[in-house]
Symmetry: C2
Subunit: 245 residues, 2 copies
């Protein structure tokens, strides 16, 4: 029993459940072709867009900006990323920029995610604890078949990870002690912040999150996390045994 007393598994999503880089690059490539910029490296563009994710949230975490949902930050960051890749966002209709922003709603899960979650859900409450906002997570789940019991995360907690409030308010909403939750994530920094708040921790390596040349250190556990599993199906095996369901 590797997670004694745990009743809810909460999941990081971008990178842990879904492959954001391929999904964003797929839609960006079509966008650049439509706008006569087929030479733009769509994966590099995805990396540029993603690189502005933490600085944008830091404005909120620091208190310099009131809580603002991620769709809005993604839309703002898109304009910067387009400029960086040689397109003037002012020349593109707003509705097209909105549509490309919703590429983040249409990311594909890693192949083990849906079968693993489907099994885990029979023994645990499962929910995203993502910085993605509710409609983003909802659209993603409905498209991909992610069987969440509820959509939790930054918008519900009104706090972005890795602030303590993001984890502690989520536990409070579930009417559980922090130790009754386990955060499942591919990111050591997220798990470290959750552990500091008293949550259990599970590390899942995602060696392709940042593409084929990803720094190998990113997919190595940085601490003795409570559980380390190669993927979600293996996690279900470890937590629930090999019996049915």
């Amino acid at each position: 029993m590797p997670l004694p007393g745990v009743r809810a598994l909460v999941f990081d999503v971008f990178g842990t459940v879904v492959d954001w880089r391929s999904g964003v690059a797929r839609e960006a490539a079509a966008f650049f072709t439509r706008h006569n910029h087929p030479h733009v490296d769509a994966s590099a563009f995805a990396d540029t867009w993603r690189a502005q994710y933490q600085p944008a949230m830091e404005e909120v975490r620091s208190g310099r900006r009131p809580f603002t949902r991620l769709d809005v930050l993604h839309r703002e960051n898109l304009a910067h990323a387009l400029s960086d890749h040689g397109l003037d966002p002012a020349t593109i209709p707003g509705a097209e920029l909105d549509e490309l922003t919703r590429a983040w709603h249409r990311l594909d899960p890693w192949p083990d995610a849906v079968p693993g979650l489907t099994r885990l859900r029979t023994a645990y409450i499962i929910a995203p604890l993502s910085n993605g906002n509710i409609i983003l997570m909802l659209n993603m789940a409905k498209r991909a078949g992610l069987p969440w019991d509820a959509i939790l995360g930054a918008e519900v907690a009104r706090a972005y990870k890795p602030t303590p409030d993001s984890y502690l308010r989520t536990a409070d909403i579930l009417a559980m002690a922090p130790a009754e939750l386990c955060l499942v994530a591919a990111h050591n920094s997220d798990l470290a912040a959750a552990r500091a708040c008293g949550l259990h921790t599970c590390f899942i390596p995602r060696p392709l999150e940042y593409g084929p040349n990803q720094n190998p250190a990113l997919s190595r556990p940085g601490q003795d996390w409570d559980v380390i599993a190669p993927d979600f199906v293996a996690l279900a095996e470890m937590l629930m045994g090999s019996g049915r369901p």
Copy 2:
């Protein structure tokens, strides 16, 4: 097409999706037997407990009390309801009162609710827009098999129905105009407040919500709601036709 432009169906839950009176009475009857008060009318007790629901929320709606989730209000109201039925709540262990309060997490759906929602979910986003808090709705859904796409409602909106914020913030969270939502409810007052905010409206009569002697006026539509359907399966037929799925 009775609901043009509607993309999300949001549901009142207590009375509309689940039969709160029978469920609370079932658990209360067992409780009173354990505590040597088998003579208490458990259905009447459920009515007493429920009668304090609106006054307790009104403290929050009026601003006299900060937002407080329904589990807390239910627990406070339970003490009053027990006193009204001859039991001193101070003589009962707190853990037992907590457990009885969670009777509201274990209510059974009306027989048409799960099959209707399962079908509606294939064409619409479906979510509760209830005054019940997140973990209450989550536990109820997991036990009963209610296939919500997300748990929305008062705790997410930080506002109790029928305040405009409860409806308008829910639309904002879904990134939709109010008219892209339809509230499905058995209560004319809830629908009237939603309509005033621009939501579409669907009335489902629940003639047994308050028991076999319910005032027939409660299950009659009070306005020309956009849709009036006898139950959730019929609603799916009306909105989606009789074809599969």
